[in-house]
């Protein structure tokens, strides 16, 4: 389990999170949604131990502020929003960096399998800095997957923390990446993802935490959180769910699901 209680966090004089409570269980995909500046990424960075917080965060029973980095690294991988690299590494070298954090020996072809998993088979010899933003993000996902390749270890769940994993991807790759997260959870691992796209959130999540102004307004099943009242309040605009427009063209990822799953 991942359990956060009374999480309060200040950056300078601003309070970014106040008394937030958040839980995620193994075998589930838990999403964090909310408007810009609501503290989603800050919450994720507190949950991964990147920021100093008041309150308590435990991952599989370990209070993360008191856990050694190498022990946490064996337990969970973290995908940042964007990762600019300072040196001309090849894609294969970047993915192999994930292997130094994880537990699995994994064999020499693990990085190849991870790249194939994110749809970048054959990219290992390319230079990372020459890829597009979306391709770089998927390379980083492969690196994180290599770190926690087996969703469980020694009977305990391992975790993926994803910060807007699909923000710079096209719809096909959005579905592909969300499916990877879904599969990781279905195999017994835990997934926590900061999400921007509410449709994808509704499609793939088991639990959704809705943030606004540094507070967790609600955390529950998607259909209980993604409601007209809660969303309108959080995003400060009138929102109606499950309401197709009368005339205009619209496109939902739900209808594209099978095409991506077939890949």
């Amino acid at each position: 389990m991942l359990i956060a209680r009374d999480l309060t966090l200040h950056l300078g004089r601003r309070t970014i999170l106040s008394e937030a409570a958040f839980t995620a269980r193994p075998g589930a995909l838990t999403s964090i949604v909310g408007p810009n500046g609501s503290g989603k990424t800050t919450l994720l960075r507190a949950l991964t131990g990147e920021l100093v917080y008041d309150g308590s965060v435990t991952l599989n029973g370990h209070e993360i502020a008191q856990t050694k980095p190498w022990r946490l690294a064996a337990l969970r991988g973290v995908l940042p929003q964007a990762t600019p690299l300072s040196f001309p590494f090849t894609v294969g070298e970047v993915v192999r960096l994930g292997q130094q954090g994880g537990l699995d020996a994994g064999g020499p072809d693990l990085s190849q399998r991870a790249l194939a998993r994110v749809g970048l088979g054959g990219f290992a010899g390319r230079m990372y800095q020459e890829l597009s933003g979306g391709e770089q993000q998927r390379v980083q996902l492969a690196r994180v997957l290599v770190q926690v390749w087996e969703p469980t270890a020694h009977g305990a769940a391992r975790w993926l923390f994803l910060d807007e994993p699909v923000s710079s991807l096209d719809i096909g790759h959005q579905l592909q990446v969300m499916q990877i997260a879904r599969d990781f959870a279905d195999a017994g691992g835990g997934v926590v993802a900061v999400m921007h796209d509410l449709n994808l959130t509704a499609m793939f999540s088991d639990s959704v935490a809705l943030l606004a102004q540094g507070r967790v307004l609600a955390q529950d099943r998607p259909e209980a959180v993604l409601t007209d009242a809660l969303l309108s309040n959080a995003y400060a605009c009138r929102i109606r769910v499950n309401t197709p427009p009368a005339e205009a063209t619209y496109l939902l990822p739900h209808a594209a699901r099978h095409a991506a799953a077939a890949e």
């Binding site: 980095p69 190498w70 990762t83 690299l85 001309p88 010899g125």
Partner: protein, 356 residues
């Protein structure tokens, strides 16, 4: 020197085998340059003849013995140590700052170490007699180490905000630190008496010509310690290329890694500056060249940097001996003449990747 081809990445993007071949080539190169360094100079010596003499059990002539064992060998050892130290500290510093432009000479670390060395030379007499006796010959390298350490620490603190290192801030702060250290050094030079001025002048020439076994033994421990510590940083520096947060998520104790890297740079640069003055460009040219050939993985990069740095400095030293023979050019002039244009070439060629 090694071939300057584009990185020939295998389809798997794995350049470790290539890097191993580069290591082998560099060992051969270092051996060749070492042989040249022992034989070339104002007094010619034939290695073959000496080898033959030794094998046949004949005594060497007094002249050959003095030239070989008291002049050339300490100079060879010093050149190798200084070159390796400068190149490795450049590579470590570039990994720490996540930027290929970080170089101890460019960003004021060498100036800080220089200030430390000058302080020890000029104000060394003011130390309590007991402490002065304990430090002995080590006072100058230790002071240079402290100066280099303080300036690296200061530079990192100024250039890094919430885990991000600003290159522009780093370079500008380096200029300011270098100027400040230079000004303070100037004040100390102004205060110095005649004997100290003589010491300072010789030291400031940036040369390994005055190498003696005593000098080598004084500076070697610090440099060897730093060189031995560097490979342990390699995995951490690789992870750090992804940023501080990602490195921590990969299991690195980032704070400890940074402290170790700063101490290593300060030790290597401090000792190198203390014995050889300011020899520029080795720290930036060597790692850059190696990254072009076999990639930025720090595990082979740090070892190969030590080898190529040592070979490059010995080669520059040989050039400095023959170019205006029988006089000698300070080696700092040679490395700057070779390194300056090379640095400009890097800038022109890789402009897009530097992301200043």
């Amino acid at each position: 020197m090694v071939a300057l081809s584009e990185p020939a990445a295998a389809p798997t993007g794995d350049r470790r085998a290539l890097a191993r071949r580069v290591t082998l080539l560099l060992v051969l190169l270092l051996l060749a340059v070492s042989a040249a360094s022992l034989t070339v100079g104002a007094s010619g010596i034939s290695l073959r003849q000496i080898g033959g003499d030794l094998l046949a059990g004949r005594e060497l002539s007094l002249r050959d013995r003095v030239v070989l064992f008291d002049i050339r060998l300490p100079r060879l050892a010093m050149g190798m140590l200084v070159g390796a130290s400068l190149a490795v500290s450049g590579a470590v510093m570039q990994g720490l700052f996540r930027n290929p432009l970080a170089d101890p000479g460019l960003v004021g670390v060498s100036a800080g170490a220089g200030l430390g060395a000058i302080t020890a030379i000029v104000l060394g007499g003011l130390l309590p007699a007991g402490l002065a006796a304990t430090l002995g010959h080590y006072a100058v390298p230790v002071a240079a180490f402290l100066g280099g350490w303080a300036s690296t620490l200061l530079l990192y603190a100024i250039a890094t905000r919430s885990g991000r290192t600003s290159v522009a801030t780093m370079l500008l702060a380096g200029i300011a630190l270098g100027a400040l250290a230079g000004a303070l050094s100037g004040v100390l030079v102004y205060m110095a008496d005649d004997t100290q001025l003589r010491d300072l002048t010789f030291w400031g020439m940036g040369s390994i010509a005055g190498a003696t076994w005593a000098k080598v033994l004084t500076a070697a421990p610090l440099m060897l310690l730093a060189l031995a510590a560097a490979p342990a940083l390699a995995r951490g520096l690789n992870a750090l290329a992804l940023g501080e947060a990602a490195a921590a998520h990969l299991g690195q104790d980032v704070q400890r890694l940074k402290s170790m890297a700063i101490l290593t740079v300060a030790g290597a640069v401090g000792a190198a500056v203390a014995v050889s003055g300011g020899i520029g460009f080795v720290g930036i040219v060597v790692p850059h060249l190696l990254r072009l050939v076999s990639g930025p993985d720090h595990r082979p990069l740090l070892i190969n940097s030590a080898l190529l740095g040592a070979a490059l400095l010995l080669a520059a030293d040989v050039i400095s001996r023959v170019i205006i023979a029988p006089a000698e050019l300070p080696i700092g002039i040679v490395t700057a003449t070779l390194g300056g244009p090379f640095f400009l070439w890097i800038l022109l060629r890789r402009r897009t990747l530097l992301e200043l």
